[in-house]
């Protein structure tokens, strides 16, 4: 069953269609939520909310549109809302970008993945979202722009700045290749 048939099944009220939708896209949705929230439990909560909203909102969905950018757009919005609530929560106001990096210098220069993930955690949420959608979810600029409801130029700018900050952070951490 391709995406179009899946949407038509959902619209027709097929009782098995919601499970198919969730099982097909839970990986990409959860991955984005995990990257944005940085916490598995929070990521699952947001991913669940994403699917609940999608199942409720699929009524007006055009079967000709691709499902993945639509779902990732919902997930990105839910993550942004959840991060906003987390910032307003007492005791959790310190964001990663406000933290001073007090970790010891890189001991194993080969551990690039670890360093890249830590650097990603320190990016602004919108930069992190765009970087993740492009480099981890392999969405094109236009798909990201549609998912986030932003102009393509804005998406490009955010991605370029994200790369610049990541490269700078890796350099400060002493990572050399």
């Amino acid at each position: 069953m391709d995406d179009r048939a899946l949407v038509e099944s959902l619209l027709a009220g097929d009782p098995h269609a919601p499970r198919v939708l969730i099982e097909r896209f839970q990986g990409v949705v959860f991955a984005l939520c995990y990257r944005m929230m940085g916490h598995r439990h929070d990521a699952e909560d947001v991913a669940q909310e994403t699917f609940l909203r999608a199942l409720r909102g699929v009524v007006g969905f055009d079967p000709g549109r691709p499902l993945r950018p639509w779902l990732l757009g919902i997930a990105a919005n839910r993550c942004r809302t959840a991060l906003g609530k987390r910032v307003r929560r007492p005791g959790l106001t310190e964001s990663a970008e406000d933290c001073v990096d007090r970790r010891p210098p890189l001991s194993d220069p080969d551990d690039l993945a670890f360093e890249l993930e830590r650097a990603l955690d320190r990016l602004r949420p919108e930069y992190r979202t765009v970087f993740t959608l492009f480099h981890e979810q392999n969405l094109a600029y236009e798909e990201i722009a549609r998912a986030l409801d932003r102009p393509v130029g804005t998406v490009k700018t955010w991605l370029h700045r994200a790369r610049g900050e990541l490269a700078e952070h890796l350099s400060r951490r002493g990572v050399r290749c």
Partner: protein, 229 residues
């Protein structure tokens, strides 16, 4: 290639997900520009780090079941918390009472033309009583002000005059006919009769308007201009 193009080309290589290979143009510029050489090294590190991004994390087993269970339950958005519900009920009650009182006051103040208010009409009777009481209170307030202001002004002028005179202050001899209207009036009168001269320069300046109300001597006629017309 300039420095701006250098960074732009690096982003194009990363966009194409093919930044590992050499680029003669980038190398040529980097060899002549130390700043871009360092920037290129940082982007090269980032390009290699991007290759190390691992597989996407997955949710715990049973995620789909949990979502479907939540979907079967009533949506949380439809459940109004008790506090919110109670607040809405209280707000509605306040609005209802306010509107009711407003309508009652409005109808009490209106009498249709040509229609005499009925003697048993409670709102009309209340309104008449209220108007009568308001008239009495207004008249009493005006009488009180009239009674109090004239003697007070006279005493104030006498106090100022006595403060300006050398020697012991004269007895003011407050008129017995003027009945004190308040304890303040009595206190002021007692103090003045006791010879208290409390007015300094600033006080005299503040109460100077009392002097201006006294009749002044007529001004001398203006001198005729020299030479005459």
């Amino acid at each position: 290639m300039d420095c701006r193009e250098f960074e732009s080309v690096w982003n194009e290589r990363l966009d194409a997900r093919d930044a590992a290979g050499p680029s003669a143009a980038l190398d040529a510029h980097a060899s002549a520009c130390p700043k871009c050489r360092a920037l290129g090294a940082r982007y090269q590190t980032l390009a290699q780090a991007l290759q190390t991004l691992g597989p996407l994390p997955t949710p715990r087993p049973g995620f789909a079941d949990r979502v479907l269970s939540a979907a079967a339950a009533p949506p949380a958005d439809d459940l109004i918390p008790f506090r919110v519900w109670w607040t809405r009920v209280a707000a509605a009650a306040v609005v209802l009472v306010s509107v009711g009182l407003g309508v009652r006051v409005w109808t009490a103040g209106r009498v249709a033309p040509g229609v005499a208010p009925g003697p048993v009409s409670a709102p009309t009777a209340d309104s008449e009583d209220l108007n009568r009481a308001l008239t009495v209170a207004t008249r009493a307030t005006l009488d009180l002000a009239r009674e109090a202001s004239a003697p007070a002004a006279r005493v104030g002028r006498q106090v100022l005059v006595s403060a300006a005179l050398p020697g012991p202050p004269p007895s003011l001899g407050l008129p017995e006919s003027v009945s004190p209207v308040s304890s303040v009036w009595e206190t002021v009168g007692d103090r003045v009769n006791a010879g208290v001269g409390p007015l300094g320069g600033s006080a005299r300046h503040a109460f100077g308007f009392l002097f201006r109300s006294t009749p002044e001597a007529p001004a001398p006629p203006p001198a005729a201009p020299k030479g005459g017309a």
